[in-house]
Symmetry: D2
Subunit: 375 residues, 4 copies
Amino acid sequence: MRSLLPGLLFSITSVAVFAQAEPGHSHKLARSLQFPDVPGYKVMKCDLHQHTVFSDGSVWPDIRVAEALMDGLDAISLTEHLEYQPHKDDIPHPDRNRSYELALKEARDHKLIVIRGSEITRKMPPGHCNAVFINDANKMLISDSVEVFREAKRQNAFVFWNHPNWIKQRTDGIATLTPMHKQLIKEKLLDGIEVVNDVTYSDEALQIALDNNLTIMGTSDIHKLVDWVFDVPKGGHRPITLVFAKEATAESIREGLMNRKTVVFHNNLLIGRDEVLVPLIKESLKTGGAKYTPKTTVLEVEIENVTSCEFMLQNRSKYTFHGHADVITLKPGEKTTIMVKTVNKLTSVDIPFEVLSAINAPKSHPVVTLQVNVN
Amino acid sequence: MRSLLPGLLFSITSVAVFAQAEPGHSHKLARSLQFPDVPGYKVMKCDLHQHTVFSDGSVWPDIRVAEALMDGLDAISLTEHLEYQPHKDDIPHPDRNRSYELALKEARDHKLIVIRGSEITRKMPPGHCNAVFINDANKMLISDSVEVFREAKRQNAFVFWNHPNWIKQRTDGIATLTPMHKQLIKEKLLDGIEVVNDVTYSDEALQIALDNNLTIMGTSDIHKLVDWVFDVPKGGHRPITLVFAKEATAESIREGLMNRKTVVFHNNLLIGRDEVLVPLIKESLKTGGAKYTPKTTVLEVEIENVTSCEFMLQNRSKYTFHGHADVITLKPGEKTTIMVKTVNKLTSVDIPFEVLSAINAPKSHPVVTLQVNVN
Amino acid sequence: MRSLLPGLLFSITSVAVFAQAEPGHSHKLARSLQFPDVPGYKVMKCDLHQHTVFSDGSVWPDIRVAEALMDGLDAISLTEHLEYQPHKDDIPHPDRNRSYELALKEARDHKLIVIRGSEITRKMPPGHCNAVFINDANKMLISDSVEVFREAKRQNAFVFWNHPNWIKQRTDGIATLTPMHKQLIKEKLLDGIEVVNDVTYSDEALQIALDNNLTIMGTSDIHKLVDWVFDVPKGGHRPITLVFAKEATAESIREGLMNRKTVVFHNNLLIGRDEVLVPLIKESLKTGGAKYTPKTTVLEVEIENVTSCEFMLQNRSKYTFHGHADVITLKPGEKTTIMVKTVNKLTSVDIPFEVLSAINAPKSHPVVTLQVNVN
Amino acid sequence: MRSLLPGLLFSITSVAVFAQAEPGHSHKLARSLQFPDVPGYKVMKCDLHQHTVFSDGSVWPDIRVAEALMDGLDAISLTEHLEYQPHKDDIPHPDRNRSYELALKEARDHKLIVIRGSEITRKMPPGHCNAVFINDANKMLISDSVEVFREAKRQNAFVFWNHPNWIKQRTDGIATLTPMHKQLIKEKLLDGIEVVNDVTYSDEALQIALDNNLTIMGTSDIHKLVDWVFDVPKGGHRPITLVFAKEATAESIREGLMNRKTVVFHNNLLIGRDEVLVPLIKESLKTGGAKYTPKTTVLEVEIENVTSCEFMLQNRSKYTFHGHADVITLKPGEKTTIMVKTVNKLTSVDIPFEVLSAINAPKSHPVVTLQVNVN
């Protein structure tokens, strides 16, 4: 068969913009995470679980702000351990609001939203939980493990259970609700649960979220450097929670979290409920008009992945493809052309795909239909 | 959760060895395609459909030999069109064996096997077919479209149908048996069929192969330069047929082809019958002994992908993972650690995976079980 | 000393645009060689010494056209050996114009200029010489080694001596004029000389050019593939001759060559006479307005290298720099900021540099002054 | 000229070993800086000017230890500002030894030497100076600007002047000795001077070092993250001082520093006195036996650059080269073949090069002779 070049040219153009600094001073812009908004909502990129020297982290709050700006985040919270203060010999003062204040000041000339939060750090149960949108961390120093949650709620916090799969507290790594957690959920003292923390992902935590109507969360829980832990120089990224908020404000983020409207982005996975996950996928994969290869019924469909997530799709349509088998990979920021053998000439075509990169329940992937018009 | 660093270090070492030449003279060794042998067979990397200036290609046979050496191939065939000779004003002699002879001479100091072959180039039906392991191409200049196949068989050739999905001869791109093809198959004049040609893949051709017990083939059908057509500088590769041969000889390759023992490698896909596909996958993914993270029932299983194919696996076991969801990607030449939550301490564990990168029938992927011993 | 971040940000933005194709069909646009025009001249990128199957090369002429388009060349000549025809058993016809005609046809829908030319291939003396802008190669089949040059001149050719340093004809690699060459020069039958051929560079050939007022030439002399010989995937490039032509036409190129207005680009070197070399350097390095770091007499000068050549400059000014020693590297397509300690506040400053990447005589580099205005 | 391929193959093999981690936990080994030892001395890689949260830095001491291990350093000092304590509201205790103690503990299971040191931070004069190898930083809190140096000396410290070119204290960026500095030097209270600090280099500081017999120093003066400030992901590195020490111990390092035996490595420059610079260069560039290209007097000399520094050499021999002009670049960790036209067949050859990447005085580069034996 003679090569289709030069007759027919299938091209994908990928533009990579990167900032390369004079040795010494640099802002890495290419690592900035990109996701589109969806109809009715701004998609806010948040990391709501981080540490600094003010509990057991290794950096001053300014580094967390700088990392967040490089990663293109919209909001962060520096959720220091309330009870665990390994640096207290050097940082003795009891003010648990301190890292928040320093970060807020550092971020003031930027668009980054800094949210006040703390990590309630207990043995199991209840383990570790974050309370964000509090107004005074110092009032959270309460010994009773349920009363502290009530205080969080009095401060109008959003509260989520951290790393329920943590092998230090569950040697089998299987996230499991304890009676205390059930009680907290019942009393509406616990709103969410991390399905992703650091480099781990938990199917069981996702199931708990679905069974108990908890907000699905993902965070870095970063203690040292984001660049190292998540291999950013090699293209890796920290986990984030995409919050679907009416506006780009702290209050709207809080509302989105309370309304369970989140998708977690971690390691080329998008984890969330279909209600928000499917619209996000639809906005992520843009198809322009498609056209038939001249004199054939093979339809060239160009799909552009406008996000930082690599998408893996499995063909669930009745059609076969001319250049691919059933699994297709769409790289971040790139356009890929698939050639759909429609057999008949159509004016529009629906192509359902199972989105393997997206998870709406353990081992379950949403099916999303690309609706394509033919030019 | 505190980072596991520096306590527990999960490391993957990837060694990339590449040859960088003095400007002017270079051999690109890193692009060399790698696949393991399987018990009882050598896995021979073959491209049995290529063109040179001796029909409608753009290079002298020495370039095809050089490309094959760079790609680490074991065997090639320069299958010029018998009937289609667009360069005859410049290359007028009727000797159809010429490119084979020139390639053989070029390859004599190397381990590359050069196989004599031709492309029977007809309108549909039967379309284009390759006859390889012939002994004299000049005897193949026969006008009758069935008789030429009988001559091929008299020369003990292996015969396969090229690009049955070619949109120039099938405007819908759907490979379909014609009555003539059925007759050829019935008379044992047609042994195989290309499911991959150039950058195309055909589910329908694969189905025809399975329904009619034909050898599954994949080739480059290269006319210009392999580096350009298959984007080699960016990590791409040409399609090849992995032939399972008793020995590393031409005769053994022929035997393996006649016995339907092939797997096609194209674009991070492996396409073949389970009989050879499953052993190949098992040899491709090496697991050393696994060990439990201390004080947990989370089993660290390191899998090394010793091939040039990126493997995508979907977890079909009863276990969940601590660091992954259900789909895992194993990059070529790299080791990946998965952390299996076995719940109980085991001495060995079976982990079935659906191998999405492998195809044994249209839209069907084999399930292969990793058998892991615990140290 | 406290880091200047975030106060003062020195940033270099480099935009790399690259075309990544669907596996199968690709045009590599990023390798396209870039050079600016200079006042009064278009800078035409030419490779006037190449081979195809029509003498001892390994590709059909269409590949040479495709390579030239990828490299962004303006003009090529396929200068087959007149006398040396190793493929004549397969390509027997005596028409020496053939590869020119095929290339012309291939290039007709593109802006590439194809120039008719041949290589007069003799023992030493005179060795091998190219005659380009001939009108009939078949008339060049003349046995007398001086008469053939007269014929070339009757056809209005531009004639240059190839690889005078070729170790097959000069075991010491030292290009040396023979009496015959002196005669050819005296009779104005020899206009130019290659100082760069394939991967070699010859100081002695450059000296001969300067001593005898010959045009300075550089070519690939490509026989196999440009991508391989010059390591294009790793960022290498073929040698080219930049011809300073009044217009973008073949006749203007010829005129530029006859007028000795050339600069050779090879391996991050620019080789030519100051008359054209210095204006080229000046257009290659763009400085916008410079500004003082606030409250200092340190002047930030941003230099943009708009070419494909990496520039190495050695500071010959009376100033020292705040961020560099005396040798500075300006990478292709990038901006670099140097910080000049002017001591006093100036409104404009001249910074002479010895351009180590440029050669105007053996071991001699031009000094070019950057004239910078202060904002 | 016919290509030398496949006859003669010039190859450079470069092996890049890099560690790619499971997303989450990684140690970047490829960035490790490499330099050979020289006869009689171990070459110790040191960064003796760094900050943490214990003065005005942004990280806990453990990050500095981790960065140093990744960069392959042998010794570090965390030289906090004695007088400047911007974090004192949060870190109020007066113990200036604290960051040293924490770093020492962090480094105890590794081969990294941690040296106690402090930064005497004053207005000009004397500006900022580091005292390393002190035994108690708390005793350095002395208001008199000369007396504090005497205390440093009582503690047997090595003392060096930081960033004498700092534009905050010298608006012209020109390092200049003040009378106080001359007095300190006269009283042997000041031993060294930074010629490199952060991303700056100062010719004037180098001249001061040479005129006053001070130790030549280079440091990062890192406050935030080494990876960011020095663009490590893109191949950049922090400045270091290579100290020529009899043994790999702190005391030997101190002795080496006191004996002025240092070379600074910064941005592909090596800065030092010939006494140590020339032996380092000689050990950095390894030449195996050279051999003549058969039947020629062109000598192939392979040079291997065994360091992390890119070497730029300018040919100062009487020979010309067959593949290069006068300036040659030897990339880190790679072998480069130069082809020397010796004209006569020699049994050994000396090739003097001016090492443009090395500086022994402002705008002055040492000439080093490669002594090559012919096989």
